[in-house]
């Protein structure tokens, strides 16, 4: 079961991602199974609680969003800190998921789709 806080706003699932979940060996199935159970088509991953976002974290989040996409669930990742955003592209080339500044921005992005 996910340790990250899960809530719902305007029909979107908000997951306040915690490192403890991303570091689990079965993180992919854990995230996908728990989210699919909630029976919603829009999910927002909020990374504000993560003090540091590593390239490994990004790869794991990419896998989760790709897995959810295959299950018909759209996702937006938000909550990157300026310092993380400034550093991360020294270690990775690109990110494959959609991003937003914060939860409000992500909800707005979903509503205009």
């Amino acid at each position: 079961m996910l340790q990250s806080n899960v809530s719902t706003i305007d029909g979107c699932i908000i997951v306040d991602v915690k490192h403890i979940d991303l570091e689990k060996e079965n993180y992919l199935s854990l995230f996908i199974e728990d989210i699919i159970k909630l029976n919603k088509s829009k999910i927002i991953f909020n990374l504000e609680d993560l003090e540091i976002v590593t390239s490994d974290d990004i790869q794991r989040i990419e896998k989760i969003t790709k897995g959810l996409h295959l299950s018909g669930i759209s996702s937006i990742v938000c909550g990157f800190s300026p310092y993380c955003a400034a550093m991360i592209f020294s270690f990775i080339d690109n990110v494959s998921f959609e991003t937003s500044l914060n939860i409000k921005g992500a909800i707005d992005a979903f509503s205009t789709k």
Binding site: A86, I88, A109
Partner: protein
């Protein structure tokens, strides 16, 4: 004797660090971040771009995005004296980082000479939206936030 040499080295390095700090502090004031509309930031880059300046510009832009919920950043590079592969790489990194923060970035001031240079350098700039003039960037930026520039009768 060797202690003196070591001390001299340390003093020299300390002076170098102070110079670099001053340079960094100086560069902070060289780059204005202009809020030209609600959610639109304009950054005119001037002179030369190096990795220190580029990192500082990027951090300033990203902090501004976070604090002011900036939607579009227009980076005007018309004032940059030399555009080489290193500068192009810095611009791409800034654009990617701003996109990660949910903000759109537009690079303006791409003259025909700069465009030719970039193409000849073989740098992939497909991740960046670019325009020839600042005016074109402004039009795009306003469109992005839902406004349209029209001539007043």
């Amino acid at each position: 004797m060797s202690l003196t040499t070591d001390e001299q080295k340390i003093t020299s390095q300390e002076n170098r660090i102070t110079d670099l700090e001053n340079e960094l502090e100086g560069s902070r004031f060289e780059i204005p971040l202009l809020k030209i509309a609600e959610g639109v930031l304009m950054v005119p880059l001037m002179g030369t771009m190096d990795s220190v300046k580029s990192q500082k510009v990027m951090e300033d832009i990203l902090i501004n995005i976070k604090l002011n919920e900036t939607k579009v950043v227009v980076i005007d590079i018309a004032g940059i004296t030399v555009i080489d592969s290193s500068v192009a790489a810095h611009l791409i990194k800034i654009a990617k980082a701003t996109n990660l923060m949910g903000c759109k970035s537009i690079v303006s001031g791409i003259s025909p000479i700069i465009a030719t240079n970039i193409v000849n350098l073989g740098v992939d700039v497909s991740d960046i939206e670019t325009t020839n003039t600042l005016k074109d960037s402004m039009v795009k930026a306003y469109n992005y936030i839902g406004y349209e520039l029209v001539k007043k009768n």
